[in-house]
Amino acid sequence: MPILAGPISYAQAVILGLLQGFAELFPISSLGHSVILPQLLGWDIHQNDAYFITFLVATHLATAIVLLLFFLEDWRRIVMGMWRSLAEREITPDNVHGRLGWLLVVGTIPAGLLGLLLEDSLRTVFASGQSAAFFLIVNGVMLYGAERLRRRAPRYETGEGSDRRIAEETTWLGSLGIGAAQALALVPGFSRSGASMGGGLLLGLSNEDAARFSFLLATPIIGAAALLKLPELLGSEGNGVRGPALVAALCAAVTAYLSVRFLVRYFETNRLTPFAAYCVAGGVVYSLILLAK
């Protein structure tokens, strides 16, 4: 692997960027994989290294921008709906996108608060590949459990009515619960999208609606987390990683776009079960390999 002057080579940046964009949206824990992969490949990159955290900011920002652009028309309607509700000082039953927007705000609060307060300490405690592999197994069990325990979701025609169904079926408390479940992703191995999709299923949403709500919920939380750390990437802590970070961000943007496009269609008719199986199997295999190292 060619190592250039910086701590992360361009080849490593390409691999990590492709992985990040793909794993961020699939319910398989991007953070867990970004901890496990360098250890599996014997790279001298550790999750708590300041330059690596700074490097990941770029890939997260790219993923958030892709999500924002992918759902841009939805976000325009959501912002208009929220503005209308503020002007009217109430969320009228016909203001579907206003209610959806406030549900997203309520869902973002617990994950945002816990992220702001606990991210550093949790990252330090759960930095090892073994713990990430173990929690990947738990993530798989959680995804499978959500599919098994879900209330039977009514069958809908896909497409236009999704926002209305989410707005009508998701309660404020339910959205708060989904937001709290998202905070699990602060622990490497747990998936943010997996937790929020699982929470949606337990509230009675269909896979399609749960996935859509999860992707909309992802944009502010990933974007805000990345923007908060952007000064580190642009400042002295970014010295030596800005080039690879830019390359990784471009790679992450490509895989994030392909992933969200694929997953939106996939969840119209399919379930979380294959991802649950991968997480359990992958977690077991990675644990054994890391133990043998």
Partner: protein, 84 residues
Amino acid sequence: MSRNRMLVPAAILAGALLIIVAVIYWVEPAKSLPFPDFLGHEAGSNTVHIKHGIAAFLLGIACFVFAWFQSGPKHGRASTRTPE
């Protein structure tokens, strides 16, 4: 969202307190914070907890938004708009 006007003053008070807490986080180092250890106080530390401040500020804003909706018109008016 059901309305309870009793909650409005409580939400405004909580919002104002949280924004004051945010300012304290932003201007005081961890060693001078008048909060318990689990809320960021660290003896001898000059770290400024910017992120704790942001969390408190956003929560304060959320309280004000809650108060805004709770203090809206008593009876929801029938919307004249076409459903989306």
